[in-house]
Symmetry: C2
Subunit: 261 residues, 2 copies
């Protein structure tokens, strides 16, 4: 299973408009440090699936017919704003799987164009080709699902944005599931008041609890990037900081009996 | 007064995603024929004002501090979607003048960030520097204002998207106002059923009625562009088809007594 981190930013991106902090200055000088709206491309078993649609140029990156489905974590603008343009296209309809959110975002439901919204239910798996995907409730300010994705190779990847910690049922599911790879919201440096997103400490705590073989921190704000420059922390070798454009290959492990969280 | 047509497309743009019509094929082969979300930059009397904010890369085109204000015609996504990212910036607040629309678009009101929304009233002029701007109600599916903009030089420019025809009061105002330049919604080739936008015939009828010295057709759909390729109509020399990136200079005329519409 191949994962491409298309964007790894929290809302506002890196660089943030008008900001001259160390992280934003670095990202303006070298686009390799830029972070676009948080999203990923999953390629496995002949499927190409876009996880979240906040990139502003989706219609250029993915010409008609090159995506099998879009899967949304939630309907905040930075996760869906690329759909406002894409929807007016012509040709085959694009299935858009999403949490059940009666509000959606702006007039996407009223004028879906070629998008076909398909609301999901928590813990009820659906299939895309041979991929089996389980929606997992997250803790956020709008109905939000993370996704546990399993390929026929048994490779398992979980994608968990946006969230502050994990609901108990989701944590229990993942602790038993034994992910080969996991990407998780880590929006800010350690803080006492994290809002609706993980800070550094809470992201690491969730990773420790669900024990994936490898984890990637994503949905990263400019404040966290600045902290990483100024006070680079030690990080276990199986925990990584995601970057835009990074491609990872997830393969299946021999699984053992799960440990209690 | 300098006007730059930053975008001249109807919703969906040209080329439209997945479309292989003549206009879309031409726009893919030659970006000079591309049309981005409808918007314009007004520069006069030391002011830089953005009319509508649908361009996806506003935060890159206009670094912090380079815009004095944003003026919105209405809150449809293709006219405001660039704000979703821009709002999370740092620095001076940006005034955003707009029609009174309790709904707005998505969570822009809830999380305005550095944007400062200022609702306007129909026919009650406001000033930006030395510019005097009068909001004019239009006929659309959401509360929508066109704008009559006058510089200290007395140059007058009216911007009228999105609309189907013109309300009687707006038409009367403009007929008396004697615009030097006017840009108007012209979304489609002549049609019996134009929806919430002008087709070719209705746009020309409104221009004839309000009699500007020069008029530009904008908010152009791929269907209209295809029709212009296949059946190019004769057009009066003072009526022009707008293109992305076109810059026009509006100067003041000696005005005569207005003619009844």
């Amino acid at each position: 299973m191949r994962i491409t981190f298309l964007g790894t930013a929290g809302a506002g991106g890196v660089p943030r408009y008008g900001c001259d902090c160390r992280a934003c200055t670095r990202a303006r000088a070298d686009l390799a440090w830029q972070r676009l709206p948080c999203s990923a491309l999953i390629e496995a078993d002949g499927q190409r699936i876009l996880l979240d649609a906040g990139l502003m140029d989706l219609h250029e990156r993915f010409p008609a017919g090159t995506l099998d489905a879009i899967v949304l974590t939630h309907f905040h603008a930075d996760h869906v704003q690329g759909l406002f343009h894409l929807r007016w296209g012509k040709g085959a309809r694009i299935p858009v799987y999403a949490p059940p959110d009666a509000e959606g975002c702006a007039d996407l439901y009223k004028h879906p164009g070629l998008l076909e919204f398909r609301p999901l239910r928590a813990f009820e798996p659906f299939t895309l080709g041979a991929l089996r995907i389980t929606p997992l409730p997250l803790n956020h300010s709008k109905p939000t699902f993370g996704y546990a994705i399993e390929a026929t190779s048994s490779a398992r990847f979980a994608y968990l944005t946006d969230t502050l910690g994990l609901p108990a049922q989701t944590e229990a599911f993942l602790a038993a599931w034994q992910a080969d790879g996991l990407a998780i919201d880590c929006s800010s440096a350690p803080t006492e008041i994290p809002g609706n997103h993980n800070d550094w400490s809470r992201a690491l705590a969730s990773i420790q609890c669900v024990a994936p073989r490898h984890a990637w921190l994503t949905h990263i704000g400019h404040g966290l990037d600045s902290w990483l420059i100024e006070q680079p922390p030690e990080l276990a070798p199986d925990i990584h900081i995601a970057h835009d454009g990074a491609i990872i290959e997830i393969s299946a492990a021999v699984r053992s009996a799960p440990q209690p969280c």
